[in-house]
């Protein structure tokens, strides 16, 4: 296959063009951080400025199936996150770890290829993991208190001297503005596409370079307009958190528990539409933690814990998304009992290593009443909670330790109006797959997809996952002979599933448009959007496809 015919090759070039400058900036910034920390400057702004770039590199690498770069970017993201929260950890040792990671990341991006040696990345990721474990155990629980103090000073500053610069605007007007912006974004994509076509045809010239600059500048302006407009739609998450203190007190009282709620990050902004749909599942998790997670005062005393349990609710913006953590210091999940229960329900729990606990507890059926007592842990309606979070384009994960506690981590899009998506082509039809639910894209190698019970199955990161044909799933015109060349691993909660496609076209921030009632209620697409070339594409409803995994082939 020549490089021109190879859509992956074309994409790979785009990837290097976009990500290499970012990776190099990141590497440079780490060196600069090291210098400033030595001089005693915490360099907060520089550190904070890296999150977006790391996230972009991570996301793009994941989309290209370049796992080493993705994992290194991810590890660096985690490390930076920890360092942002705790200035006292900004040491020489930390800096040299970052510098090494930055160099490695730039290398991995520069030499991007599907068959790159995975060892250096893996060993670096391991290094970061060990470093973080050491760091975290050194300094337990200093975080929320300091953050609260920060916030107080922040709001004082904001509270002084601004009174009459507020205008009330009907929310529908903001929607209308967003629609116009959406058209602008589409027109920009069309322009960028035409530019790339010109470069391919002519090989480039000075004028084209200027055009490129102009297209890039336009994109930046539109992005700024987008973020300004988005900001006007946002409300602080405290509008939801505010309901919790009383609810926690009442629930704890009813359950005979003593619980203290510590929350931070209430100023984190979220789209009103997301907030409206978030409060219900979050309330569910909080009450779950109180009723099932935190032990009775007697039991806590017996196991050497303070009688009063602590519930931590923490929100923070993270590169275009919002991460919410809900942690308790209760008894933790009983993994063995959960596995037994899942097996009893007929779920495939063959090897304990193959299916992580976190995919099990979100399975439907683990939410029956007898589960509660039998597991002596969580499980009440978690599938419902997970469903609600997924429907928002979010993800939910859980970490637990026997006797120490359980932490749920939710990652949510800041808005539902614009969704970063992977555009794929199946039988000449294009579809958008929200990137929040794309774990990886994989080139189909011969003999790697086997058929078991008339369903495609493949090995993916050590697990067996189902791979379905995108054409069959989405009903495209069938008569094809050529096999599909890629599959997209969609993931939500613990569910994973591959979708076979012909081509990976690229990624785009798509403006989500609803489905007219005339179109019925399809359960494989959630909406529509307009692509750069003006054509309409359907947005694949990854969450519902994953949820329907057992019945749909």
């Amino acid at each position: 296959m020549s490089r021109d015919e190879n859509p992956f090759g074309e994409l790979l070039q785009d990837y290097v063009l976009e990500c290499l400058p970012l990776a190099e900036q990141i590497a440079d910034a780490f060196v600069e951080l090291e210098r400033q920390w030595r001089d005693g400057d915490p360099a907060d702004d520089l550190l904070a400025s890296l999150a977006g770039r790391l996230h972009t590199v991570k996301g793009n690498s994941a989309m290209m199936g370049l796992a080493p770069a993705q994992e290194v970017a991810h590890a660096l993201e985690d490390a930076c996150g920890l360092l942002r929260r705790s200035p006292e950890r900004r040491t020489d040792a930390s800096a040299s770890l970052l510098v090494a990671g930055g160099e490695l990341l730039a290398d991995l991006v520069r030499n991007a290829a599907p068959d790159l040696d995975p060892v250096p990345a893996a060993s670096f990721v391991e290094r970061v993991r060990r470093w973080m474990e050491a760091e975290v155990s050194l300094l337990p629980g200093t975080l929320p208190e300091r953050r609260r103090a920060d916030r107080r000073t922040g709001s004082d500053a904001a509270g002084s001297g601004k009174v009459d610069s507020v205008v009330r605007v009907d929310f529908r007007r903001l929607d209308a503005m967003l629609e116009v912006l959406g058209e602008g974004l589409i027109q920009h994509s069309a322009l960028a596409e035409a530019y790339r076509g010109l470069v391919r045809q002519t090989g480039g010239c000075d004028e084209l370079e200027r055009l490129d600059q102009a297209v890039l500048a336009l994109e930046k302006t539109l992005k700024r307009l987008e973020s300004t407009l988005m900001d006007t739609r946002l409300l602080p998450i405290s509008t939801v958190f505010g309901r919790f203190p009383r609810m926690v007190r009442d629930t704890a009282e009813g359950a005979g528990k003593r619980v203290r709620l510590v929350h931070s990050g209430g100023e984190t902004p979220l789209d009103k539409a997301v907030l409206d749909r978030l409060s219900e599942p979050l309330l569910h998790l909080v009450s779950n933690a109180i009723v099932h997670g935190i032990e009775s005062p007697d039991a806590r005393r017996a196991s050497g814990k303070p009688e009063e349990g602590t519930l931590r609710l923490d929100a923070a913006p993270m590169a275009g998304r919002v991460v919410i953590r809900l942690g308790d210091d209760g008894r933790g999940l009983d993994e063995l009992a959960i596995r037994k229960k899942a097996e009893g329900l007929g779920h495939e729990v063959r090897s304990e290593d193959a299916i992580p606990l976190r995919s099990l507890i979100f399975l439907p059926g683990l939410s029956t009443a007898d589960t509660v007592s039998a597991l002596a842990g969580r499980g009440v309606g978690l599938d419902v909670v997970a469903g609600a979070i997924h429907a928002l384009g979010g993800t939910i994960d859980v970490a637990t330790e026997r006797g120490k506690g359980t932490t749920f981590t939710l990652s949510l899009p800041v808005t539902l109006a614009i969704v970063r998506s992977l555009i794929v082509e199946i039988d000449h039809e294009r579809f958008a797959v929200p990137l929040a639910h794309v774990a990886e894209t994989v080139r189909v190698e011969p003999e790697t997809i086997r058929e078991i019970n008339h369903r495609g199955v493949t090995q993916w990161r050590g697990d067996l996952i189902h791979v379905a044909d995108g054409g069959a799933m989405l009903g495209t015109a069938a008569d094809r002979i050529e096999p599909r060349r890629f599959y997209v691993v969609m993931a939500a909660g613990g569910r994973r599933r591959g979708l076979l496609v012909d081509r990976l076209v690229g990624h785009q921030d798509v403006v989500v448009k609803g489905l007219d009632p005339t179109l019925g209620r399809p359960d494989v697409v959630s909406g529509t959007t307009i692509l750069g070339d003006g054509r309409v594409a359907c947005i694949v409803d990854a969450v519902r496809i994953l949820e329907g995994g057992r019945r749909a082939g």
Binding site: E183, K513, T518, L519, D523, V525, I530, V536
Partner: protein, 167 residues
Amino acid sequence: MPAEELLGFTDTMEARSAAEAAPAPGPELHLLTFALDREEFGIPVTQVREVIRVADITRVPQAPAHVRGVANLRGRILAVVELRSRLGLAPAELTPRSRVVVVEVRGRVLGLLVDAVSQVTKVPQASVVPAPEEVVSGDAGYVTGVARWQSRLIILLDLEKALLPTE
């Protein structure tokens, strides 16, 4: 149809419309007419927003059979109904004469895929007769009548009944 009968019918029509809208002798219907199969259909121009050439229509998975898909109408998503299937006719290939009639029915904007658009025609209200049963195949609740005018036979559609399913 015997002449006496027709005359008698027009009389009642005129009497009725005179009773409803007093100072309008010989009212006219303004229709946009279009072709489907070998028939000519008409809808009130007041329901028509515009007529566009057929651009790319994107299929929507699992949509009802009579829905052709969605199209980009200047940045808005337009659902396009395959009017032939809706009326029980065989679906047609797209031709250069194919058009999408953009209509607004009870506040909802939809596109109707038709074989060709003729023109806006003024038809005397008096030329409208109830639809003979053999005119349309399938359930004809959405045919309000037939206009016989200058040797043309125009089937009048009630878009509300044809497009908005009763749920």
